[in-house]
Amino acid sequence: MSAATSQTTTTRRQIPDRLGTPFKRLLASWEVLLFGVAVVIFIANSLASPYFLDAWNLSDATFNFTEKAMIAFAMALLIIAGEIDLSVAAIIALASTAMGYAAQMGIGAPGLVAIGIGTGLACGAFNGILVAGLKLPSIVVTIGTMSLFRGISYIVLGDQAYGKYPADFAFFGQGYVFWVFSLEFVLFLFMAGLFAVLLHATNFGRQVYVIGNNPLAARFSGIPVERVKFILFLLTGLMSGIAAVCLTSRLGSTRPSIAQGWELEVVTMVVLGGVSILGGAGTIAGVVIAAFVMGLVTFGLGLLNVPGIVMSIFIGLLLIVTIALPILGRRIRNARK
């Protein structure tokens, strides 16, 4: 960003004289605001459609966001550290293609899961080497690898599809752990907890924030900036691999166009969750609530028979508006001073 923002950088890092009471701060936080939005959407949905308030329908609705949200947790860390990965959806395509190819060879469910996750890790490592190792800008690198990973799927599959998966493989995307709670939803909650601890309660998490806020200071403080960034890309690849296992198992088939456009939805989820696109700020709790908000919006619109591409307009607007609002708010506050 740069000179145009140089006027605002001073205000962005401003520290107020008094913080206000903890309760007041909590009320003013992005997460609480977002939670309010989620509640409003939930009520609006249940008024708009009689089919909304049904345990099984709601359980189905979670599939709208669980896979994306799992990637969003890792992406949140990456964006907080000041990088981005636009290749996540392409990683899903490649991992799914690898699993489909292996399934054709007669490999069983455990092997398929290992292959899916392994492919994700390999793709993440590739991005990590390019960005952290060769110090290239992550945005162009991942635009390139996005084209590369999905391109390999197209080379392998062309206009064909893989559809033969072993029966027990279906459990990962279609299985239920307890009553209406699907394996995916439980996995989503588990990952949310895991990433919340990683980001908010470990040394590694603190390092992620420091790198995002001031990479130069991070280096002077002895933080291994490159290693942390590499691990973050690896994590993003890993989560994309897990998402690929869930999605492939749920759909039971693989096409090269699988998960097309998901990178946008994942980034939207992260930004909607209050993670600063400039890096250095954000929480996992925010991303979790954002996942619910997006899931509820798409599910509600789906119940109202809104076509998918029109929903994407809402997602795009949501992305821009949620970023614009805090900026406008800050400007109005500053103007009043």
Partner: protein, 332 residues
């Protein structure tokens, strides 16, 4: 000689010549003037889009919405032409450029006045514009028989051996070359990307330069919208899907720095032609067209690595993280 080889444009030009020579060993008519003219004509729309993209990238921004802009504008003019066959073609082209410029201005406005990172703005408008194309058309197609013969015929009219489409690209190349090197706006785009802080002290409004770059990119995308729809004689929601990446790739290959401030019109045109030659050669040398996406990906990654090497040598690195920090600002 060594200095000659280090010149990006000449090196890229040589690579393209070698590629063409190599392909013509497999297919003897590949290097004929007629086929080369066809390749240029096929690449015309990419050249036009890439030059708009270049102006935006020079100011340290990126425009991922160009292909969606193209799809919306193309759909809009095709529907206008189908609904009101009496409208003069010149008016339709002006409308296309106008709609494109307005969509570009929306991007520019969000980047300039709200200072939202360009990547986020254009990722958002990418889906919004394509969604609008769906809302506008209701998902239906505009087919060749619905459009007027004039509307469809213009890009195909041959003038001095080349179709109008090619001449349009050539005209845009000279226009952008003139704008970037001979006007205050052009110089300000380089300054805004090269060193924004210095640009502000030199009295250049960086935000305004970015805004105008987005408007220019949008206007060219709008023009491309008409050219695309008339050339392929069909308009539907998904036309040119993913083409924004090709326009970025042409720039990266052409040596335009993604960090802004560095790049030449010649380089970008050669970058686009590089992709065009590969695209046309794949069927000739018997590689599945499905491989094209992966090849673009490899080329983008290689070009980024190559650019980073070239740029790193330009300045003395005082602290190693400088470069990383700058690249991060682009990400942001």
């Amino acid at each position: 000689m060594q200095r000659l080889l280090k010149n990006r444009e000449i090196l890229l030009g040589l690579i393209i010549v070698v590629m063409i020579a190599g392909f013509s060993t497999r297919a003897s008519n590949f290097a004929t003037p007629g086929n080369l003219a066809t390749i240029f004509n096929d690449t015309s729309i990419l050249i036009i889009l890439a030059l708009g993209q270049m102006t935006v990238i020079l100011t340290k921004s990126i425009d991922l919405s160009v292909a969606a802009n193209l799809a919306f504008t193309g759909m809009a003019v095709a529907m206008l032409d189908a609904a009101y066959p009496g409208l003069p073609l010149a008016l339709l082209i002006v409308i296309a450029i106008g709609i494109g410029a307005v969509l570009g201005a929306i991007n520019g406005f969000l980047v300039w006045l709200l200072q939202i990172p360009p990547i986020v703005v254009t990722l958002g408008t990418l889906t919004i514009y394509r969604g609008m194309a769906f809302v506008l058309s209701g998902g239906s197609w505009v087919n060749a028989h619905q459009m007027t013969p004039d509307f469809l015929g213009l890009p195909r009219i041959s003038v001095m051996g080349l179709p109008v489409l090619s001449w349009a690209a050539i005209a845009i190349v000279f226009l952008i070359w003139f704008v970037l090197t001979r006007t205050p706006f052009g110089r300000s785009t380089y300054a805004a990307g090269g060193n924004p802080t210095a640009a502000v002290y030199a009295g250049i409004d960086v935000g305004r330069a970015r805004f105008l770059a987005f408007v220019l990119s949008g206007a060219l995308a709008g023009l491309s919208g008409y050219l695309w729809v008339s050339r392929y004689a069909v308009a539907y929601v998904d036309i040119a899907a993913g083409f924004e990446l090709d326009s970025v790739a042409a720039n990266v290959i052409g040596g335009v720095s993604i960090a802004g401030g560095i790049g030449s019109v010649t380089g970008t045109v050669l970058g686009a032609l590089f992709l065009g030659v590969i695209k046309n050669a794949l069927p000739v040398i018997g590689i599945s067209p499905f491989a094209q996406m992966a090849i673009s990906g490899v080329v983008i990654v290689l070009a980024v690595v190559f650019n980073a090497r070239a740029e790193a040598k330009k300045g003395r690195i005082i602290l190693r993280d400088r470069a990383a920090k700058e690249s991060q600002e682009v990400t942001a």
